[in-house]
């Protein structure tokens, strides 16, 4: 994959919203165990 495409992915809000929610959900799961 070209570097420019990688930059597009990494600066895409559509990536970071699910990533942040996933991190929070995983943290919640680990807390509840």
């Amino acid at each position: 994959m070209k570097r420019s495409k990688l930059v597009c992915i990494l600066t895409d809000v559509h990536l970071w919203v699910p990533v942040v929610v996933l991190i929070l959900g995983t943290a919640l799961l680990m807390t509840l165990r």
């Binding site: 994959m1 495409k5 597009c8 992915i9 895409d12 809000v13 559509h14 990536l15 919203v17 699910p18 990533v19 929610v21 996933l22 929070l24 959900g25 995983t26 919640l28 799961l29 509840l32 165990r33």
Partner: protein, 429 residues
């Protein structure tokens, strides 16, 4: 592509097609619960869930291979490799959400936990509006139909869950954590629809998307099950002990994949704001299996029966409301703007993507040569199911066979009808 082939296509509107897909998804997602009801031997919910995901993994490779072939899927993925990240991410979100539901049910009971995570449709609706311009440009009446319909479906789910919860109210003293877990699951599932929608406005085929989704799903579920069950060796021991019942979660996983595929097509053709609430009416079908086939509500008080009728009516009214909210041209312009954003950002061909999004994939009518490994995939999948079926011990559960046959027929009809519509209108694109 010849004119003759184009003329042979159905002219049904994409809105109607998406609505049929959403409702068919509900039937199959609800029916997927039925096989797991045959497991009554007190196995860990993590192991049952893992059995379903393993069945889903098998189905997510065989169904797309059967329908389109691996050549088509690999081409699709090669054209939009950036979406692999979102496919994996969606699978991981589902896995974490599904594990959170286990904690929710344990701590506050199904009656409270289910409606809380059922709010995923509202989360999806919010992301659809915020990130993909869904409902932008729609009239107030149309917006009210969608938002009101989604709220009605959540309300119906809450009423049904309250009426049908027969057992525990959860673990005392752990209510707050259970509620947080269930809400967290709703956020996970609702956010999972961001990758769905992104993939489809980029012109990806749902059948290609699910083959990537399943790696994120199986990998994360395996990891979480190992963590929650005391290590990988413990998981293997528990899977071995569960050998005689694993066939049922596998069948459930298979049904779930068919439901999820319809849900993916609904998300593609009517968006997540409309498609997800429709597929969330699956609770009605799960209820039908429980009540009519497994006799779960024998002896239920008249008040609870009335609540079930009221909850079902509210849910159906919500589904009808959304079905009647076809996006006007002013809203479709905003959908196109969201699509153009993806094309410009990732260098996709606007004309080609627009055709695929409209269900007219230029490559859909091309013949894709079948590969030898596709036969191998089919044989391995069939072999796994046969092997599991042979080793399955009969479960001692009373089943109402006439109703079971009626519901099986009722489940197959939408598969045949909606599958045919999808083929005739879009060639499964």
């Amino acid at each position: 592509m010849s004119q003759g082939v184009v003329a042979a296509r159905s002219t049904i509107s994409l809105h109607k097609l998406g609505v049929f897909c959403g409702l068919s998804a509900a039937v199959w997602l609800g029916s997927a619960e039925a096989p797991t009801k045959l497991v009554n031997a007190g196995f860990s919910p993590f192991i049952i869930s893992m059995g379903m995901v393993m069945g889903a993994f098998v189905a997510r490779w065989t169904v797309p291979t059967l329908l389109k072939g691996t050549g088509f899927m690999f081409n699709d993925l090669r054209e939009k490799p950036h979406l692999i990240v979102w496919g994996l991410l969606a699978g991981m979100l589902w896995a974490v959400g599904n594990t959170l539901t286990v904690f929710g049910v344990r701590n506050v009971g199904l009656s409270i936990a289910f409606p809380l995570w059922n709010m995923n449709s509202l989360v999806g609706l919010a992301w659809g509006c915020l990130l993909f311009k869904e409902l932008h440009g729609a009239s107030l009446k149309s917006q009210a139909k969608v938002v009101g319909g989604a709220l009605a479906i959540v309300l119906g789910a809450a009423v049904l869950a309250m009426a049908t919860a027969q057992q525990n109210a959860g673990t005392p003293g752990k209510a707050a954590t259970g509620i947080i877990a269930a809400l967290g699951a709703g956020c996970m599932f609702g956010t999972m629809y961001i990758p769905y929608r992104k993939a489809y406005i980029s012109g990806m085929n749902p059948l290609s998307f699910v083959t990537i989704f399943t790696f994120g799903e199986l990998g994360t579920v395996t990891l979480l099950t190992a963590i929650n069950s005391g290590g990988a060796s413990q998981v293997m021991v528990q899977l071995h002990l569960a050998r005689t019942m694993l066939f049922w979660p596998f069948v459930g996983g298979f049904c779930w994949v068919i439901g999820d595929l319809f849900q993916q097509y609904a998300a593609k053709y009517i968006g997540i704001g409309r498609g997800i609430p429709l597929s969330n009416t699956n609770q009605l079908w799960g209820l039908a299996w429980g009540a009519l086939v497994f006799g779960e509500f024998v002896g239920l008080a008249m008040g609870a029966r009335l609540l079930i009728l009221a909850g079902s009516a509210v849910m159906i009214a919500g589904a009808v409301s959304i079905s009647m909210a076809e996006p006007p041209p002013s809203e479709m312009e905003n959908w196109d703007a969201a699509m153009h954003r993806e094309c410009d950002r990732y260098g996709l061909d606007r004309v080609n993507v627009a055709a695929v999004v409209a269900g007219n994939d230029p490559l859909a009518d091309d013949k894709h040569p079948r590969r030898w490994w596709e036969v191998l995939i089919m044989l391995v999948a069939t072999g796994i199911f046969v092997w599991l079926a042979v080793g399955t011990r009969a479960q001692h559960i009373t089943v109402n066979f006439p109703w079971m046959y009626v519901l099986i027929v009722g489940t197959m009809i939408p598969l045949g009808l909606c599958g045919t519509l999808l083929w005739r209108r879009t060639r499964f694109s």
